[in-house]
Every structure is written in C-alpha cells, then in structure tokens.
C-alpha cells in the first residue's frame, strides 16, 4: 500500500528548545498506529502536527501526496481525552454538527428533508457506537465512556482520511476501556480507517496497533537537555494482526 501520511525530516523547535528532531515516517492507509513514549517525549506534539494545530519548524508533512494544511480540517478527525464533544448539544445534535456545517455554510443548520436525512445518518452512527438509547441526552449526563463513544461517532460521520486519537481511553475505568478497545477495532475494520493513537498504556498500544511507534530522545546532553529533540526511536510493525 502507498503511504497516506508522510513526515519528511520534520523538526519542531520552540526557541532553542528542540521538541522533535528528524522525524521521518510514512504511514500507510489502513494502518492503526499506536504512539507511546514517556511524558514530554513529543507524542502530543507529533499528533498536533498531524492535526495541523501546529506547523513543523523544518521539514514537510504530506497527506496523500499534497502538503498538509497547517490548520485542522475535515481530512483529519480527532478524539481527545476530554472536552471532545459540545456540551450545549445533545448526542444526536453533536453527531449532526459536521453534516450541518458541510451543507449549510451560512446558518450551520439544516431544515426539512435534508435535516431528516442528516438525522438518519447520525442516528445510524450513534447505533454503531452503542448509543442508540441516548440520542437526546446531553454530554454532561453521559458517563466518560459514553462521551468518548459520542466523540468517536461525531468524528467518524465526516469520514476523515485519518482519525487521530489523543489518549482517548486514558480517563476510563479498566472494564470500560476493554469495551472501547473492541469498539474502536470493530470500527477500524468496518470503515477501513487509518488511525493514529497516542497512549500511555503500552499494552493497549500493542493490543490495538498494527504498528507501534515509541518516541524518545535518541541523544541526551545532561547539561542542556532541551538541545536534543525526540523522534520515533522504535518502530514495530505488527504485521500478523488481523486486518493489517
């Protein structure tokens, strides 16, 4: 398979502090890439690069051969650990949000037959993530796991080229986390998603990923620790995964 997302000699520097250095990676379409590493190793910065929330200081990032826009857009969906859904919209409105913005530039709202069509799509997507019984519930009344299900449904309905997950299950109980693993693997296979997931949990990384990237500093100067940045020091392809 050809590379969907490529990082070519990417550096991120804040003043004289180097966060990421010499990141060279090609991520294939359909991959489930887990990203692990100690705190401060640039995992989140890497994800922000992929999201376009931040631009590299040097180097280039391509999505499907074209330079990545340094601004979040529809190509990349995202689920954060928290605050991923809109608190003022109920579940089905949260999922319809993207569809409404797509079709109604000025009002951001749909009416009539087009609204019913978007509603049907949203209801189906909520069913796929197991929230068929909570269509009109506001996020504040949903449990942490259900909020993450909602955030996933909200992102998936726009069919993003890449789905970025930033410690999506980090705040969940172990049992709920297991359920969510099953859910995300199922959705990944069914929708043939390309997923980049940052996690603290190494077991989770190997269980879900078809490829595990470990970010850390290759070199360290004890007198000036900020002068060396992190990069993907280990890159484990897990090719025997079903669906890989």
């Amino acid at each position: 398979m050809s590379a969907l997302l490529t990082f070519r000699n990417v550096w991120v520097e804040y003043g004289d502090k180097i966060v990421l250095e010499k990141v060279d990676l090609a991520i294939e379409a359909g991959a489930f890439v887990s990203i692990v590493g100690p705190s401060g190793a640039g995992k989140s910065t890497f994800l922000r690069l992929a999201l376009g929330q931040e631009a590299p200081t040097r180097g280039a990032i391509d999505l499907d051969g074209a330079p990545l826009r340094a601004e979040p857009d529809r190509d990349r969906g995202v689920v954060f650990q928290r605050y991923s859904v809109f608190p003022h919209l109920n579940a089905v409105e949260n999922v319809m949000f993207g569809l409404e913005c797509q079709s109604a530039a000025l009002t951001g709202r749909l009416w009539g037959a087009r609204r019913r069509d978007a509603l049907d799509q949203a209801v189906a997507m909520l069913g796929a993530v197991g929230l068929a019984g909570a269509l009109e519930v506001y996020p504040a009344q949903l449990s942490g796991g259900m909020q993450q299900r909602l955030a996933i449904a909200q992102a998936l309905i726009m069919r993003p080229r890449v789905l970025l997950l930033d410690e999506p299950f980090g705040a969940l109980d172990p049992g709920v986390r297991l359920d969510m693993h099953g859910l995300i693997l199922g959705l990944w296979r069914e929708h043939q998603l390309t997923i980049l997931m940052v996690t603290h949990d190494i077991k989770e990384a190997f269980k879900l990923g078809t490829r595990v990237l470990a970010f850390d500093k290759r070199r360290n100067d004890p007198h000036a620790p900020h002068r060396y940045g992190s990069t993907a020091v280990y890159d484990f392809p897990l090719l025997d995964k079903p669906g890989a």
Partner: protein, 273 residues
C-alpha cells in the same frame, strides 16, 4: 454533633432562616418608629407603616394635578425605559464584542486593551462629559448605563468564550466548521447563559447609574422622585419607592434566571462539561 459546615437546612428550615433576618429588620424598624412617635408625634425620619401606606396609595393611584399623570407609574415607566434601553444596547454590544474578542486572536489584540482602558474609568466621572456632549435629556442617562456596564459584560463574556476548551474549537474545525460556523454554533450558544448571568450581575450597577443620572438632571423617574422628596424629609415616600425599586430588581433577576434555565438547561445541570 456534626461539624457546623456540614449542617444543611431543609426546605422549611431554609425558608425560616431566610425570613428571620428580614422579619427582624421590619420588627426593629417598627419598634424604633413606635418609640419615636411616642416621643414626637410629628416624627418624619421613621414614619409608621400606616403613613407609608397612605403616601404609597397617593403616589400609586392619584393623578398629580400638576403633571396630569400618576407619579409612581410615570416614574416607573420613565426609569424602566432608560434602564431597558441602556441594558439592551449594553447586552447587544457585549455579545458582539465579547464573541469577537473571546474567539478571534486578532480582535483580542486589537480591542482588548481599549476595553480594558475604558473599564477602569469610573462611569460617574464620565457623567459630566455625557451631559455636556448629549445634553440633559434621555440620551445622556442611557449612555451612562451603557458606558457603565458594557466593559464589564464584554470582559466577562470574552473571558468565558476564551475559556472554552481548545479541544472543542479544534474538534469543530475537524468537522469542517468555518470561523463563522464555530462562532454561531459553538461559541454563541455557550455564550448565551453566561451573557444572561452577566446581565443579572449588571442590573445592580445599572440601577446605580440610572438613579445617579436621574438625581442630577431629570424631571421624571424613580431616582428623580426619591431625591426630590428628600428636600421635604419625606421618608414616607422614599421608603415605599425604595421598596418598589427593590421589588422590580428582584423581579428582573428572577425573570432572567428563569429564562436562562428554560432556554439553556444544559448550562444549569449539576454536572456541566
């Protein structure tokens, strides 16, 4: 015995605790008033409830032959018109400026210092400028309310919008939303309950500015009347007027709170965000 900070009043207990200081205040007044009247039957500073009721009846139901209107309603209408106009302009400007400053870094850089500078000027100090610029008519009074409460409301709302988690704004963009759509469908709905809250908090200062302006230059209005009858030590008119103003203020506060709870239930649930 449980700790004091863990003792919570029940429904009836809460009502009794809330009513007790009010009842005590009224009782204290009645005692003081009766004692004064026993010494001096012409006492004016602490009028009896009966005297206040008589004056209230005259002010609220009898046409004043000089103006051809009933004073209380004429005053109430004039004051509420100024208050309503001032607060409407303030709220609308706060919504637009607050959204822009809270959401757009460019607007924050351009307008933030201006709003901060205006906010530190005491509004009453500006009142002479307003009288000179706009004359002694309605405009100056309305503008005083606008100048007095808008900076606070703008800063409060901008701060609230800026505190919307970055994740939500990024999420909106990944769902394809434009700046306009994020302003309209993410920031605006989350701004509205806060705007109502900030309007409730601004009611107090707005009354202060209104009554100040009416006291200085006016020929009708609740503040005008209170300061007019002060010359005759007419406490039997001042006190009912003050009670009426308090009643109006409490009423508006309740209306705004109810409106916010009805329209934005998600903002009033015990677990928000």
């Amino acid at each position: 015995m449980r700790r004091l900070l863990n003792l919570r009043p029940g429904g009836a207990g809460r009502l009794a605790l809330g009513a007790a200081p009010l009842v005590a205040l009224v009782l204290f007044y009645l005692l003081a008033s009766t004692a004064q009247h026993a010494v001096n039957p012409n006492e004016k500073i602490l009028p009896t409830l009966g005297a206040m009721a008589d004056q209230a009846r005259i002010m609220a139901f009898q046409i004043d032959p000089q103006t051809g209107a009933i004073p209380l309603w004429q005053d109430t209408f004039a004051s509420l018109r100024r208050l309503g106009l001032g607060l409407s302009i303030a709220t609308a400007s706060a919504l637009i400026l607050g959204l822009a400053i809270g959401l757009l870094p460019l607007a924050r850089a351009g307008l933030g210092p201006l709003v901060a500078a205006i906010a530190v000027v005491p509004p009453i100090a500006v009142l002479p400028i307003l009288f000179i610029t706009f004359g002694l008519g309605e405009t100056a009074k309305v503008v005083l309310i606008v100048v007095g409460v808008t900076p606070f409301m703008v800063r409060d709302l901008a701060g609230h919008i800026a505190a919307i988690p970055e994740e939500q704004i990024v999420k909106g963009q990944t769902l394809g939303a434009s700046t306009w759509q994020i302003a309209l469908r993410v920031a605006l709905p989350q701004a509205m309950p806060r705007l109502l809250e900030s309007l409730r908090l601004s009611l107090g200062p707005a009354w202060v500015f209104l009554i100040s302006a009416e006291a200085i230059a006016s020929d009708v209005g609740l503040g005008y009347r209170v300061f007019l009858v002060r010359r005759y030590l007419a406490m039997d008119i001042i006190l009912p007027y003050v009670a009426w103003i308090a009643l109006l203020a409490v009423g508006f506060d309740l209306i705004l709170l109810t409106l916010s709870r009805r329209a934005y239930p998600w903002a009033h649930s015990p677990r928000t965000r």
